[in-house]
């Protein structure tokens, strides 16, 4: 009996994690980079490159894009390192590698800092130091300004912090042209204006989660009704802004049609979110706005990509 219990104890000790040894596998480290956010970064950066009036060697463009992606992933990793405590109490994030105990905070910090420094240096060497500086600023803004400062202190967190998510087209165009052009500034403005309705629609649905984690999201601080009004206000600004590429001449006929229809779709849903305030229908329409906002931004950028990348550009004016 005693030998049997000893054997069981030994088997149990054998299966326990060894102190000081990393428990994460490759997929856990990849998850630290927030792959879905990284895809958005690559996608918007690629469009920033494609609409650019000048061009670079495809290999230089590819490596620049890769470094922007790695820099974006690194900032996501550092965000997860800093926010591990609040990630652990939110249902949406509690399975992330650090709160799940698969990766130690120190490992994530080292991983994020190494990738941040590496991506900035390589981008500077491969393209130019303006693009590298902008990438470094993006990482700094997301990690320090948004994650460490704004996120836990003001309901305007995602409004100001949204600038970090909107910068990739500017970084990418700077990598190609060596300067910051109006085209990329307009793309920045579209993503910047899109961020509040997108995240606040999610925050309306997940307000309990944010409340538990102590994050001052707009619905928890100003209330759901004020949030609904602000969603509508930002969408009223976003819909015409979506047409700005047409006016400036880098959005063609297909883009004009898509942004017009998409803009009306966003407006219609924002009005519904503003009107429906109680019960299941209110939650459902907020969820619909969240989902449609992703499709809207994707279609705007995908259309620009197809128009410029595959020679389908037909100017609306002239």
């Amino acid at each position: 009996m005693s030998s049997m219990s000893n054997a069981l104890t030994e088997a149990h000790v054998e299966s326990l994690p060894t102190a000081g040894v990393s428990q994460g596998d490759v997929s856990d480290f990849f998850a630290l980079l927030k792959p879905r956010v990284m895809f958005l970064v690559v996608f918007t950066a690629l469009v920033g490159m494609v609409v650019s009036p000048s061009s670079v060697h495809p290999i230089v463009a590819f490596v620049s894009l890769l470094m922007i992606a790695v820099g974006g992933g690194a900032s996501g990793c550092l965000n997860m390192w800093w926010d591990a405590d609040i990630d652990a109490v939110m249902t949406r994030t509690r399975k992330r590698p650090i709160p799940a105990g698969k990766i130690e905070p120190g490992e994530a910090l080292a991983f994020g800092v190494t990738l941040s420094a590496g991506s900035v240096i390589i981008l500077g060497l491969v393209s130019n130091w303006l693009a590298a500086g902008l990438l470094a600023f993006t990482i700094f803004f997301y990690v320090v300004v948004y994650s460490m400062w704004l996120k836990r202190s003001t309901p305007q967190n995602i409004v100001i912090g949204g600038a970090a998510g909107a910068l990739p087209p500017i970084v990418a165009q700077a990598a190609v042209t060596g300067h910051v052009a109006w085209d990329s500034v307009i793309l920045f403005a579209i993503i910047f204006m899109w961020t509040p309705p997108h995240f606040w629609a999610l925050a309306l649905v997940k307000s309990g989660d944010y409340e538990r984690a102590g994050i001052p999201m707009m619905p928890n601080v100003a209330g759901p009704d004020s949030t609904r009004f602000q969603i509508l206000a930002y969408t009223i600004l976003l819909a015409p802004l979506g047409l700005a590429p047409v006016v400036l001449g880098f959005g063609g006929l297909a883009y004009a049609i898509i942004s017009l229809i998409g803009g009306f779709g966003m407006l219609a849903l924002a009005v519904q979110v503003y009107r429906l305030r109680e019960g299941e229908p209110a939650m459902r329409v907020a969820q619909q706005l969240f989902g449609f906002s992703i499709l809207y931004l994707f279609l705007l950028f995908a259309t620009l990509l197809v128009e410029h990348g595959f020679g389908f550009f037909r100017p609306v004016f002239g």
Binding site: E14, S15, L16, P17, T18, G20, V21, S22, Q23, G24, D25, V26, F29, H57, P58, I59, V60, V63, L66, V126
Partner: protein
């Protein structure tokens, strides 16, 4: 004289994960070297051999 620490014994699962991480790191470093070589060729082109010594 201090007693030496006992050697760390990894579980089979930990050994497997460590091997996977090592392979991924090796692959990433390999790709990194290839990319740097390709960028060097792309940026310098035929002039790669024509530089003042």
């Amino acid at each position: 004289m201090a007693r030496p620490n006992p050697p760390v014994r990894l579980t089979p699962e930990e050994q497997k994960r460590r091997r996977q991480r090592s392979m991924a790191l090796a692959l990433a470093l390999g790709i990194f070297c290839i990319l740097l070589f390709a960028v060097t060729l792309a940026k310098l082109g035929p002039g790669i051999m024509q530089r003042p010594l």
